[in-house]
């Protein structure tokens, strides 16, 4: 682990540099495009923005007023919660599925799982989201099963959807543990929609690496000493397959994040995706001001998640697998 710290520091520095360049690029792009700044000299507004970063002024005080950190941070928190629940679902479903398919290699179950994971990975996340929303959401007059609320966060009803006709209030979000339960209940459908593709991807990877491990000599030894097949798969094959699986899931967080924005808009969770698209759509007529500072802060959060995910993925890979060369 000698070179680990230096390696991570170097990657972090390079990542931060790339982030800085990309954010500068996006600043120039937004400043040239959107109204309040498109009328001032670009280098000047860039310098004003840059100068305000150390003190946090450009990060918190919106160009058009308002506290950005609270608005964007609030939305970011929702997106991260969605992401966390999705990761839990991916891991909880993909691992048994992959193991099952691998230990029944060549059977009907294996083929069914392989076809299903294939299709699951191929469907775009927005199609899955609509399908789940209409299939399992409680849409008035819809054809679905109505198991879940179809839009909104716990205690919110966007556009008055799902509003109580008697007292004209949104259904209560509850307090304490009830609230936690309500939040998870409202997030479950979006998280499942987001997870589906990644369950497909990861179950397939896991199946293949467990199959590889099951062919390895140490598994033959484990079988020869009389271990039951269940223990062979769980203790020996799966543990070795994990070496590749965990870092892969972690580095997927970056891709998942992009999907989380999409799902967030469809289920109107008022997370980062809703906020971002809402801001960009403001400019549809070409003369409504758009807060460039707010867009930049959102991009900063997004870039932070991407960088953290990729660094964490590489760190875990290096930790689990001593053969990985750090350079």
């Amino acid at each position: 682990m000698e070179g680990m710290g230096a390696f991570i520091l170097r990657r972090l520095a390079l990542g931060l540099l790339a982030m800085f360049v990309a954010l500068s690029g996006s600043f120039f792009f937004f400043a040239a495009k959107f109204l309040p700044l498109s009328e001032t000299p670009m280098l000047h507004s860039y310098w004003t923005w840059l100068r305000g970063i150390p003190s946090g002024r450009s990060l918190n005080d919106g160009l058009l007023g308002g506290h950005l950190v609270s608005t964007v941070g609030h939305a970011f928190g929702r997106t991260m919660l969605l992401l966390a629940l999705t990761l839990v679902i991916v891991v909880v479903i993909a691992i048994p599925l992959g193991c099952l398919a691998a230990s029944l290699r060549g059977s009907v179950v294996d083929y069914t799982v392989r076809i299903a994971t294939y299709v699951a990975w191929a469907v775009p996340v927005f199609v899955v989201a609509i399908l789940f929303q209409q299939g399992f959401g409680r849409i008035p007059g819809g054809w679905g099963t109505g198991w879940f609320p179809y839009i909104g966060w716990a205690g919110e009803c966007p556009n008055g959807q799902g509003i109580d006709p008697h007292n004209f209030q949104c259904p209560a979000g509850g307090h304490g543990l009830t609230h936690v339960g309500q939040v998870i209940y409202h997030l479950l459908l979006p998280a499942l929609a987001l997870a589906l593709g990644f369950i497909g991807l990861n179950a397939r990877y896991l199946r293949n690496s467990v199959v590889d491990a099951l062919d390895a000599p140490f598994v033959t030894v484990a079988r020869a000493k009389g271990l039951p097949e269940r223990l062979v798969v769980m203790r020996h094959a799966l543990r070795n397959a994990f070496v590749a699986f965990v870092p892969a899931v972690v580095s997927d967080i970056g891709v998942l994040f992009g999907g989380a924005l999409v799902v967030d808009v469809i289920f109107q969770l008022r997370g980062l995706g809703t906020l971002f698209i809402g801001l960009l759509a403001l400019d549809a007529d070409g003369n409504t001001p758009v807060d460039t500072y707010e867009l930049q802060l959102m991009l900063l959060f997004a870039a932070g998640v991407m960088l953290a995910a990729s660094l964490l993925g590489e760190m875990l890979l290096a930790l689990f697998d001593p053969r990985t060369r750090l350079d």
């Binding site: 937004f30 299709v119 927005f126 849409i139 400019d283």
Partner: protein, 303 residues
């Protein structure tokens, strides 16, 4: 013994000169799944490319009876109608036409740029090499969907050709990185070094040795790019920040409009489900063909 291995090496050089090796093509034809999905894909692309010449647009049934009508076989109403009585089948056909041309054009253009710049970077190194690597890092800073959501605002109102342009100028980068890595590793192999020491020109080395050898990798990268472009383009159109239904139908904006009208006008599931089904079939087939090609070009060890 040494004579044998020399003959084998010579044979390998001859084989490597072909663009797609005959053995790889044979392995591809032996995969029924990949071949079937390839045929389906070609059929869909042909229908999308030529089908619009054979229908009268817009095919609107203006009678009340035909509004929001579920799919039936009667009078070619296979995909149903929307709330104003337009045939979803015809709209999907037009959407397929636009989406397919956008995706194919963006993929081909991006691949061409990627091959040109990536192979120069991999073969020569130098500033272009450094530049491509750094630009790849920059593209990885934000999620792709965020990049395109922002870029598309610059092109409003977005049309299919603007979308193609926007997708091309960003998506050649990851392909170029793959091409660069492949070319720089082929460059170190003996047969290229031999050709170099014989005094072959760069052009000859590129056309006779590097490009044919790298062609497999390039084809694999292009196929996965095609699927990615279809998804990205559809997602952007779905959010009304891409091509809008007012300008052109695409698979993405048909799904978006249908989904919105399920809530607004009480349209049936078919108005988004049918275009989504077409998109899904395209994506599954593209992935299957891509995997088939990858397996044919680089056969994995037997499981």
């Amino acid at each position: 013994m040494s004579g044998l291995s020399q003959t084998a090496a010579a044979a390998e050089i001859v084989v490597e000169r072909r663009f797609v090796r005959p053995s790889a093509w044979r392995r591809l034809t032996r995969q029924p799944v990949a071949m079937t999905s390839g045929l389906i894909l070609v059929a869909i692309f042909l229908v999308g490319g030529l089908g619009t010449h054979f229908v009268s647009h817009p095919l609107v049934h203006l009678t009340d009876e035909w509004r929001n009508h579920p799919p039936t076989v009667r009078s070619w109403n296979l995909f149903g109608t929307d709330a104003i009585g337009e045939s979803i089948l015809v709209r999907t056909l037009y959407g397929l036409h636009t989406s397919e041309i956008t995706a194919l054009a963006a993929t081909v253009l991006a691949t061409l740029i990627a091959v040109a710049l990536g192979s120069i970077a991999g073969y020569r190194g130098g500033w272009l090499d450094v530049a491509i690597m750094r630009v790849t890092d920059l593209l990885g800073v934000f999620p792709l969907i965020v990049v395109f959501l922002a870029v598309y605002t610059y092109f409003t109102p977005v049309t299919a050709w603007k979308a193609t342009f926007a997708l091309t100028i960003f998506l050649w980068i990851p392909v170029a990185r793959v091409v660069r890595a492949e070319i720089s590793s082929i460059r170190e192999r003996e047969f290229v070094q031999a050709a170099l020491s014989l005094g072959a020109t760069d052009r000859r080395i590129f056309l006779r040795h590097l490009l044919p050898t790298a062609s497999g990798t390039i084809i694999i990268a292009a196929t996965s790019l095609l699927a990615q472009v279809f998804v990205l383009e559809a997602t952007l159109d779905f959010f009304r920040l891409g091509v809008s239904t007012a300008t052109q139908n695409t698979l993405g904006n048909l799904i978006g409009e249908g989904q919105a009208n399920v809530f607004a006008l009480g349209q049936g599931w078919w108005s988004w489900g049918c275009p989504a089904g077409v998109l899904l079939v395209i994506l599954v087939c593209t992935n299957l063909v891509g995997d088939g090609i990858a397996e044919a070009i680089r056969p994995p060890r037997q499981r």
